[in-house]
Amino acid sequence: MLEISKLVKRYGRDEPVLKELDLRVEGSSVVAIVGASGAGKSTMLRCINRLVEPTSGSIRLNGTELVTLKGAALRRARRKIGMVFQGFNLIDRLTVMENVLAGRLGYVNLYQAIARRYPREDIERAFSLMERVGIAHYANKRADALSGGERQRVGVVRALMQEPEVLLADEPTASLDPRTSEQIMILLQSLASELSLPVLINIHNVAQARTYTERIVGLRHGKMIFDGTPGEFTRDALDAIYGGIESPDDEPTETSTSSTAQAKRGVPHDPA
């Protein structure tokens, strides 16, 4: 169970990006977090695994308080939190297998990591997960030789290698073409139920959020203004979230294509 309470993030002396945010995610639910750019989606996700330091508040994962962790304890907590990135964040010059095994870095010792001598179970797990998502035959290819959808599958497998208790996905489909992004969403949805894993997906594409998730959380200016099922997500909610900022991305086909080109090399997420 992931419990976020009164989470505040403020960069310098600016207006806070997250304003006392509360969120509870239980069981193996897929939660979509929607909101305009700058609403604080990415910051919230990165506060959970502390890639961004929260200013105040509390984040508890299965009872462990994450906000106060330091050093080795933080790393131990991080390995229980898988993350999938918008730009895949693979290591281009390493093979697919090495990228996948990198998900075990929190578990193996330094020698095993450098010599690539991972335990048998890890390799077994890597192969079965790669088979599950259909990339096992690429094991020894370099990561940069793969197409966007395949690269994101590597990213997903890497996150699952961590045996996570929660999976965070930061705009996992924004760099992909419409068809591939649908496939990745289906994959995330089915993996969540197979592994009974809570999944938090930041997503721009409201149509996809409605189709593939069970719960939608709407953020605006760092505050939660909607929390409900896709069925409850009405035109009004949409207007409340996006109104006066920009038009919502209702047409999956258009948006994804437009963002593919610029995101091909991995666009840095906007910190706001």
């Binding site: 093979t95 297998m97 090495e98 690539r116 991972y118 048998r120 390799i123 077994e124 890597a126 192969f127 088979e131 096992a136 035959h137 094991a139 020894n140």
Partner: protein, 270 residues
């Protein structure tokens, strides 16, 4: 493992594919490296007895060197002034002379025999370290700044000439054709179609070369070609380590300042 239809029977172990696929070549290269290291270390004449004295000597040198003495400031000033003069004159001469040599060494504007000659001059002047050139000029024209100027002029011709020749080879040929179409002769074409295209680059290179010559002028003095290097060498020879360290500190400071200025000017120009 590499084909989907064999997945079921695929061995469930994995090794990182080696950087060099051929095992013979892979282990062969390691062997070559080991053999080389053994050979190199084995064949080099190390004078261990003398090296063993090194630490106490180092202590004495650094002990004698600190604090650095700036007492003979006048001598130092003369040395630095001479180094500056050498660097400035050599840069001026070298940059001017590098233009004809660059034209000679550019394949697209020079006929083959001239090209070969130009290339040869540039290759030879680049092959020799300025200190070697300096020692030869000292032997030919005697101790003093003249040898230094000649050395660094040659050094500049080699460096600037090479880069400039490459620049000429990459110019926009259309302008040359346009000049030729007006009936201009060879020299006129050079001046009006080639040089304008390489001029900005030449100014940047000159600044770079001035900086580079200033550095080199500090060392050609060690073999007697004038400048602060000679002063430094003398200080070392007379075990005047405090004076030597003072010179070294100033050399470092001057180089940093000159690097900063040259970088700033080049940024302004480009």
């Amino acid at each position: 493992m590499t084909r989907p239809d064999r997945e079921d029977t695929a061995p469930r172990t994995w090794r990182k594919p080696p950087f060099i696929a051929n095992p013979w070549l892979r282990y062969g290269l390691w062997l070559v490296l080991v053999v080389y290291l053994v050979w190199a270390f084995g064949s080099l004449p190390f004078n261990w007895a003398r090296i063993g004295e090194g630490l106490p000597r180092a202590a004495r040198i650094f002990g004698g060197g600190f604090p650095p003495s700036f007492e003979r400031g006048a001598l130092m000033l003369t040395g630095f002034k001479e180094s500056f003069q050498i660097a400035i004159l050599a840069t001026l001469l070298g940059v001017m002379l590098s233009i004809p040599f660059a034209v000679m060494a550019a394949r697209n504007v020079a006929p083959l025999p001239v090209y070969l000659f130009g290339r040869a001059v540039i290759i030879i002047s680049r092959s020799f370290h300025p200190v070697i050139v300096a020692i030869l000029f000292v032997a030919a024209v005697g101790f003093g700044p003249l040898a230094g100027i000649l050395t660094l002029t040659l050094y500049s011709i080699g460096f600037v000439g090479k880069l400039l020749a490459e620049e000429i080879e990459e110019i926009d040929w259309g302008q040359v054709e346009a000049m030729r179409a007006t009936g201009a002769g060879y020299l006129a074409t050079l001046f009006y179609a080639v040089f304008p295209q390489i001029l900005p680059r030449q100014i940047g290179l000159s600044m770079y070369q001035l900086d580079s010559n200033l550095r080199a002028s500090a060392v050609v003095g060690i073999v007697g070609a004038g400048g602060i290097g000679g002063t430094l060498m003398n200080a070392f020879g007379r075990y005047d380590y405090d004076f030597a360290f003072a010179i070294l500190l100033i050399i470092i400071a001057v180089i940093l300042v000159s690097e900063g200025i040259s970088g700033w000017v080049r940024k302004k120009i480009w």
